[in-house]
């Protein structure tokens, strides 16, 4: 695209890819190091903590050796990195199962939940935000604006797990339409997905509206109106792409938050995903599993951010240059 008209020497897309990839590497390194460091930052002996005060000293020593915790720190770090490259994330302190297997078992349920919820949030919020922006631009329809703003503020402020509890009470306990918990058939997806999607949808709809209003005040919209283009062209061709570029940045942050929100929602619905795994592992002090889940969540968030940046670069021809 823009590359065709630029000098081949400093190819903006090449520079963008290089810079973005470098940033991803740094972030992944920080994440991996943090996950590794986590186990060493815990005050006291994590193995003793996990096995409890009644375990014999020999057992603790043996488990320490099995986990490599008796090695020097740098050696452990290198072993950890080497393990990551070969897909070895250690074994669970409690069950003795390989962490990679546990993650592989639980990951699909969480990904399903997050993807469905994000799709729902975007499909609802973007048209809604755009419509309300157009309807309430320039101080029109004040009551409508007030209704929209207050509804979205309230929805955005209710945390997922409370919403989940309320939904369970209404639709499962009282109405009995859908199951209370578990992952079993399409109807069991409804409540977790809605609980996860509602707050991000409300926030995103507000952002889309505010961004669209800002864009509608821009000089180039006045230019488009001066060309006497029909309203639908002004809104969809001139306003929407520009409003979306701004909304995507925040949408990406929301998607990250949504990935994290699965932790709470999964616990309410006893959803067999990573979220329920991490909580039970933290409570059981099964640190290798916690490390693994933190890594997977972290990488998930970083990938989302990468996708957002690439989407931005595609949508906004200035972005590759702006950053440089």
């Amino acid at each position: 695209m823009t590359a065709a008209v630029s000098a081949p020497v400093d190819h903006p897309w090449g520079r963008f890819a290089l810079r973005r990839f470098g940033r991803l590497l740094v972030s992944v390194w920080v994440l991996v190091t943090a996950a590794f460091g986590m186990i060493h930052l815990i005050p006291g002996d994590p193995v003793r903590g996990a096995l409890g005060p009644t375990a014999s000293q020999e057992l603790v020593e043996a488990r320490r050796a099995a986990l490599g915790l008796d090695q020097p720190l740098w050696q452990q770090y290198l072993d950890y990195l080497r393990g990551l490259f070969t897909g070895d994330l250690g074994v669970s302190m409690n069950s003795g199962m390989p962490v990679a297997d546990i993650l592989g078992d639980r990951l699909p349920a969480t990904v399903e939940l997050a993807v469905l919820a994000f799709a729902l949030a975007v499909l609802v919020s973007v048209p809604l935000g755009l419509a309300f922006a157009v309807l309430t631009r320039g101080g029109r329809r004040r009551p409508l604006e007030l209704g929209f703003t207050s509804t979205s503020v309230v929805l955005a402020a209710i945390p997922e797990f409370l919403l989940a509890v309320a939904l369970v009470w209404i639709f499962s306990v009282n109405l009995g339409w859908v199951p209370v918990a578990g992952r079993d058939g399409p109807s069991s997806y409804v409540l977790p997905v809605v609980a996860l999607a509602l707050a991000p949808a409300a926030i995103l709809a507000r952002i889309v509206r505010v961004e669209t209003l800002t864009v509608l005040r821009a000089d180039y919209i006045r230019t488009a109106r001066a060309k006497r283009l029909p309203s639908r062209t002004v809104y969809f061709r001139h306003a929407l792409p520009n409003a979306l570029t701004a909304a995507i940045t925040l949408g990406g942050l929301l998607l990250g938050a949504l990935v994290a929100g699965t932790v709470l929602v999964e616990n309410v619905f006893a959803w067999p995903g990573l979220g329920s795994t991490i909580v039970s592992s933290i409570l059981a002090k099964d640190y290798p599993v916690v490390q693994g889940v933190v890594l997977v969540y972290g990488v998930g968030v970083l990938v989302v951010n990468l996708v957002v940046d690439v989407a931005l670069a595609l949508l906004d021809p200035r972005s590759t240059i702006r950053e440089g």
Binding site: P159, H238, I282, Y297
Partner: protein, 610 residues
Amino acid sequence: MGRVLRTPLGAAAAGTVAVVLLLAVLAPVLWTDAANAVDTGQIQQGASADHWAGTDSLGRDIFFRVLVATRLSVQLALLATALGVAVGLLLGTAPLLLGARAGRVITAAVHIAVAFPGLLLALFFAVIFGVGTTGGLLAIGFALAPGFARLTHTMVAGVAGLDYVAAARIAGVGRLRVLFRHVLPNVAEPLVVNATVAAGNALLAFAGLSFLGLGVQPPDYDWGRLLGEGLGAIYLHPEAALAPGVAVVVAGLAFNLFGEAIAKGVGLERRLGTSTSRFRRRPRVAPDPDDSAMLVVENLSVGFPGTTPVRGVSFSMRRGDAVGIVGESGSGKSLTALAVSRLVEEPGIVEAERLSFLGADLRAGEHRRLLGTSLAMVFQDPMTSFNPTMRIGRQLSEVARHHEGMDRRAAMARAVDRLAAVRLSDPERRARQYPHEFSGGMRQRAMIGMGLMGKPALIVADEPTTALDVTVQRQVLELLASIRAADDVAILLISHDITVVEQVCDRVLVMYAGRIVEDLPAAELRTGARHPYTKALLAAVPDMTTDRELPLTVIPGRPADPANLPPGCAFAPRCPLADARCATEDPELVENAGARVACWHADVPAEVIS
């Protein structure tokens, strides 16, 4: 703050916050015993007159437990917020205090941390600090910090780049004093707002953590714990889960809405100005009743709530005319141009006794096709007047495609042709480029080219050269002049620069405070101006012939505020000739020998003024 309380939302939020804080202080004192009373005869009961929200697995009253839990919940939320805000402020202001290099490292670290959602950070820290109240407190505090650090950093960087900070540094003011005296006071409002919202979020986050069993541990309890306990028995009696749930939502919302209300109140204070409405009908001043007139504007007014920035403007133009409107900021010249082009948006109201263009009455109907093809606009800032996400060629060609039904190829061919007509080199390549790849002068040419996509009879150019360099200015003005000469296109040029108008136009309208105060041929500007404002404007701006030994003419006072006009002539407070009559009666625009002037003292010779 007073303004915040006066809005219903703000008052409600502030009231709820106050109640929550009061409960936090009083509830444990009053009801701890009631909350801890074990009654094995009343285990897991539903709501009743004795127990409004039922009882838990030990028969304790859940309603009282929710009330008592207010203190711990709010306390933890506020402490976590305080921790997060303090760490965030330190990290966010560090680049300013420590200098560029250390600052860059910190900023990069914050940037990476911000990418991870707060809950994930909280879980990470919860593992390190351990499960429990202190661990949760530290976890949520540190999880809040990166977001707050970035916010602080962005705002501090914004203010630190302003000239008053530069000026303070040049004056020898130290870094700490710059931070506390110049930077922080100017970012305090948004920081307070965000800290308030963050308190609400911390409350919700802590509830979540306790709900998961990672926060407050028994025998202590906060709302999150009560909620978690209640969820297990949601089939038996939902009140046990709903009561703490409602408490969390109400308290969290109250903090969030209070923050929002402060933000709104702060915004309001900026926007509200003193304004007095004034909408006077002016007696009709006859413009040229010539039927060949292409554009006729009679008694045009533009009103906004509270002010009328354009009042009774009348003029007309024939084919090929070049008319300039000159005035300072706030004179209403740009609004006049927008009103003529039918581009004033709500809440602006345009009224006119006549507003016709090429015989069509613009006051009624949309006239899309007529205006889209026969009236071209050129705006002041070529940097922002093109859609940044669309290629230039497409922005030009959509005019022809829409109004003349051309196909894509033909419309693009015409766009390339018009880019060539405005003397852009290599127009085919230029058409494929985005606006940001053009220089300012090139964009303004492309904007003029866009106006030429149809067959314009009138080009309305609103400060077309203000944003451009002098040498580029000349080229753009010459381009406009040559288009006018070639196709008999009329030009309405709006400018604050009287010399620009003088160069291009054959008639000049001088506007002050929303009215035309003088209308005269451009050639007579230097010799025949009769309004003291016109004369002063000419003398106040140095040109290449100004005598360097004499001081410049000064117009005392400040430009008139359209929202607050004096009863008589709007220029009277600044006018050396003003007398009692000028202060009470607003002079009409009177025609005399091909020129119009609105001044009681139009016949006083120029020497008296300067």
